[in-house]
């Protein structure tokens, strides 16, 4: 196969994932211009390593390179953002039982786009990465584990923590502490 054919094959395979690549780079760098540079760099790398691609799951293969390029770029340019996460830290507040009125509050409120974007952008990067791959790219845990280069168990705990942080950012903080709930409400029906 000639270089040109190889290049065409790469283009056919990679082009459909350009938006996903940009979306991830944009959420990780939080900046359009940086995301553009990173994606361009990642695609050049991907083209170079195309020979090592075994033909399965082009999306995960490509996004793994994009993710890797993003982190290399962040290390060189914004190393302060790459704080390490202790995935075994059990003391981290996980999903607490929601207050009885919370689901109502969440369902009744229409969230502003800016509000949600801000909450995602403020997640620590290790959580943000897993959260964006799951919620915006709709990738399976297996694919996320491959792209983020962590075990599936870590994907699960990071996702759980990311969502707990998101909820805390979105749901008003002045909700009452857990209290005894009348039986009628606990059964999900309001008299």
């Amino acid at each position: 196969m000639s270089d040109e054919q190889n290049r065409q094959r790469f283009e056919m395979l990679a082009l459909p994932h350009l938006d996903a690549a940009f979306n991830i780079a944009r959420w990780l760098t939080r900046n359009d211009d940086d995301a553009r540079d990173v994606v361009q760099d990642a695609f050049v790398r991907a083209m170079r390593y195309f020979g090592g691609f075994r033909g399965d799951n082009a999306r995960a293969w490509l996004l793994q390179i994009v993710r890797h390029t993003c982190f290399t770029w962040l290390r060189e340019n914004r190393s302060a953002e790459l704080t390490t996460i202790d995935d075994d830290d059990e003391s981290f507040p996980e999903l607490q039982a929601p207050a009885a009125d919370e689901p109502q509050a969440v369902v009744q409120r229409r969230f502003e786009r800016a509000e949600i974007d801000r909450a995602i952008a403020s997640l620590p990067i290790a959580f943000r990465e897993v959260f964006v791959l799951r919620e915006l790219e709709d990738l399976s845990y297996t694919d996320i584990a491959r792209i983020a280069d962590v075990p599936i168990g870590t994907v699960m705990s990071r996702l759980s923590r990311a969502r707990a942080l998101m909820r805390r950012a979105l749901v008003p903080v002045n909700r009452p502490a857990l209290r005894t709930v009348p039986k009628s409400i606990r059964n999900g029906e309001r008299a």
């Binding site: 090592g52 691609f53 689901p103 969440v106 969230f111 168990g153 996702l159 969502r163 059964n187």
Partner: protein
């Protein structure tokens, strides 16, 4: 109270990532445990709010051209990655091995494909049983609809507020049947929308839910006197059931499928 739940399991449940056994255990616990249900609901709502509300950054115009009009850069240093160790000779040999690999791939594909087809047929049979059971229950008892209205502007928002998707609903009359309302139901281990139609004394129900699989053409079957059709399109699975005649049923199914636009 449920202090003993692994929160990761709740998230994996919502994400449809649990293995079947754990999933079934979770479902039976859910039925008994209101707190657990509240937690699952809370995760679902957050998920929906994010998926509907968050910005998705598509690649700016010109980025594709900037990337693909560039000649490939000469290889410099290998990527420091475990998964794609790369040196110049490597991909040449990959291309040389391609015919052999292709045959091996094909054999694996055929084998797994056959198993997949069998599995799918079994799942479809089980689902058809569930659809019939649900239809019979709803027509036997007095619980055909949760929301009685022929106005899809009323039923659609009501259903989408209860579910994590929005079912496609057409006009008041579809293929000679009158739309009488919607119901929440539970099929294939997930909540689904049931859309109820009446034509004369007959009831037809359309069950809809999101389906990640590929589009599939309409397939008909009849079972215990019921006409059943199912298909997947635009990420939605549809199962239709009624006790009308085969001809009337086919006309109705085509009209329902047309609600989503021409093929």
């Amino acid at each position: 109270m449920t202090a003993d739940h692994d929160p990761r399991e709740i998230h994996a449940f919502v994400d449809d990532e649990l293995d079947l056994k754990t999933r079934l255990e979770m479902e039976s616990r859910l039925e008994a445990d209101a707190d657990l249900r509240a937690q699952v609901d809370s995760v679902r709502r957050l998920r929906q709010a994010v998926r509907e509300g968050a910005s998705y950054h598509v690649a700016p115009a010109g980025l594709a051209a900037a990337i693909f009009d560039k000649p490939p850069a000469p290889a410099t240093k290998p990527e420091p990655s475990r998964r794609e160790p790369s040196h110049p000779g490597r991909w040449l040999s990959w291309f040389a091995w391609r015919p052999v690999m292709a045959t091996a791939f094909a054999a694996v594909l055929v084998a797994s494909g056959a198993q997949y087809v069998l599995l799918q047929a079994r799942q479809e049979g089980a689902l058809a049983d569930e659809v019939i059971a649900s239809h019979v229950r709803s027509t036997l008892g007095d619980h055909l609809v949760d929301i009685a209205s022929s106005d899809h502007h009323v039923v659609k928002p009501w259903l989408s507020s209860k579910l994590d998707f929005s079912p496609p609903i057409g006009d008041e009359m579809v293929g000679g049947a009158k739309f009488v309302g919607g119901r929440l139901d539970y099929l294939g281990q997930r909540p689904v929308a049931a859309l109820v139609y009446r034509a004369g004394g007959h009831v037809a129900e359309v069950f809809v839910w999101p389906d990640k699989g590929a589009d599939r053409k309409v397939q008909y079957r009849d079972d215990r006197g019921f006409q059943i059709a199912h298909w997947s399109r635009n990420g939605m699975a549809h199962w239709v059931i009624s006790d009308v005649s085969r001809e009337a049923f086919v006309g109705f199914v085509e009209a329902v499928a047309a609600v989503e636009g021409p093929r």
